[in-house]
Assembly symmetry: C2
Homo-oligomer: 321 residues x 2
């Protein structure tokens, strides 16, 4: 079993690498080879019996993916992306990384005859937008109101068409907003959703740029990684006629998130959150829906977090480890 | 008023040119300039007071659209496309013409600062597919089961995103299956839908490659052209948060189409239709839905044909003209 990962140095990529190495197998086959790709060389994590290659490359450069494709991986995780705020600020950059590189990857799979390779791509709740029903389901149209979402939606269509044509065995998972991300804030418009918990729990100040009534559709890092692993194991025959769907997140308001913060870490933690409305952030995140009926995903065995308290506790136990 | 048309030598493009010249105005402004583009030079139709340019160019070539964009048209109709069967047979050709050229057109509008230019693009019912509800509406997801539909759906997302960013004033109309097309069969999978009427009405044989229970969502050429004209006149403020929707067609089964043929032209005409199932055609056309609630389009003033008899009569009166 040879697994390749784009965006492997990122937060999700690193978690996925560790999870895969811990399991030692995927789909009942021992993991013998890992190819990790990112703009900066991903950190090497040596493991007995696993041949590891860490490559620094810009996947939007022509031919950049050749070394990966020539090695004929059994599974490719395509996680590399320019996140929402950055893609909104720079249309060309977003198109190049979020769309063109996805297309180049698909074309590469086609050129190398990797029809049996499972390609698991991350898409996002940001692909939804505009006027939406109260509860969304697997048949709700994607009317993205941000360029990141539009680029991801285009990539979904391409992965689906290449899979339908038998050129690759693709699957796109639309990720909910991931909380609580470790580390520092990033250029994702949803970055605050982690900040308003992570920073106060670490004794630091945080800014909440949105009204507390705003609802988010969230998933913990552990559940997302579990979904990525599962995404490589779901049989192609179960995937039906469209290979992209929303993962089952948890619907939670910012107010509920802050309530949980107070319950877990007290009034002093809550007092570290300053409310400073940011119309730009609210416009982007406010356009993402927060209530879904995730029939497809649940039928295929993808799972949601049980409640928001669990998400916070999981973060605390990881931090203290 | 300067109007540019890609695919202007095609069946729809030619009809549109004639209709525009007959009206003499669009949006209350006299038409002073027409730029017609196609692979082969579109026929020149001289009209007093209208400056006409007919250009033969391959819109998928880099920079091909420069002469058009430099002239800063007020309205661009983007009709050029590789049709469904051809796009299914040649993925690269379909991507290049149906997607890359659309992207180049949008990028050109951006580069030339044509933010106020209304871009009216034709998409298709073929963008829908897979498991679908009994009646589709404006919120039904696009899960195309053919490359043509996938490429059109990607183009829709791009037109919407460029419009949302204020780089162009775009609008995408998803066309029903157009019947009755004049002329000869083409490489569209739906070509038979015109053939099984047109050929018998002309005293010729035709082949019906699908079961007669199959339902189609159809629109007459005159109504489609009317919709294209209207598409240039609908104010941007009315277009809402997603600039692509289905036009209001008519739901009709192949059996009903053949019944109408018999009513209009008798048993002898009906006998000219030979039934020869073609699994490839049925797979493509059978994946297109035939029942829609077209709320958006109707609210915006787009109209459907009254009944199928009218469509056949309109064809006969045009032919006899």
């Amino acid at each position: 079993m040879h697994i390749a990962i784009t965006g492997a140095a990122g937060f999700l990529g690193q978690r996925l690498v560790h999870q895969l190495l811990e399991r030692g197998e995927l789909n009942g086959q021992a993991i013998r080879q890992l190819t990790l790709i990112d703009q900066a060389e991903p950190p090497a994590i040596e493991r007995e019996g696993v041949e590891l290659r860490c490559l620094a490359l810009d996947i939007s450069e022509p031919g950049a993916l050749e070394p990966l494709l020539e090695a004929r991986p059994d599974v490719i995780y395509h996680l590399a992306a320019v996140v929402s705020s950055a893609a909104e600020a720079d249309l060309d950059l977003g198109m190049r990384v979020n769309f063109d590189a996805t297309r180049a990857l698909l074309e590469g799979c086609r050129a190398h005859g990797l029809s049996g390779t499972r390609l698991v791509m991350a898409s996002s709740v940001a692909a939804y937008g505009g006027e939406l029903p109260e509860v969304l389901d697997d048949m709700t149209a994607l009317h993205p109101q941000n360029s990141y979402g539009a680029q991801k939606a285009m990539g979904e269509l391409l992965v689906n068409d290449y899979s339908r044509r038998g050129l690759v065995d693709g699957l796109v998972l639309r990720l909910p907003t991931i909380v609580i991300r470790p580390g520092r804030p990033n250029a994702a418009a949803s970055s605050f959703a982690s900040s308003i918990l992570r920073e106060p729990l670490n004794g630091e100040q945080a800014i909440c740029p949105v009204p507390t009534e705003l609802e988010l559709f969230v998933m913990s890092p552990a559940r997302v990684v579990e979904a990525l692993v599962h995404g490589a194991e779901v049989p192609a025959s179960a995937l039906g006629d469209f290979r992209a769907f929303m993962l089952p997140g948890l619907t939670v308001s910012v107010a509920e998130m802050l309530d949980t913060l107070r319950e877990v870490a007290g009034e002093s933690a809550l007092a570290r959150v300053r409310h400073e409305p940011d119309a730009r952030i609210e416009a982007i995140v406010g356009s993402w829906p927060a209530r879904f009926s995730n029939e497809r995903a649940r039928q295929l065995g993808f799972r949601s977090d049980r409640n928001f308290g669990d998400i916070v506790q999981a973060f605390l136990s990881e931090v203290s480890r």
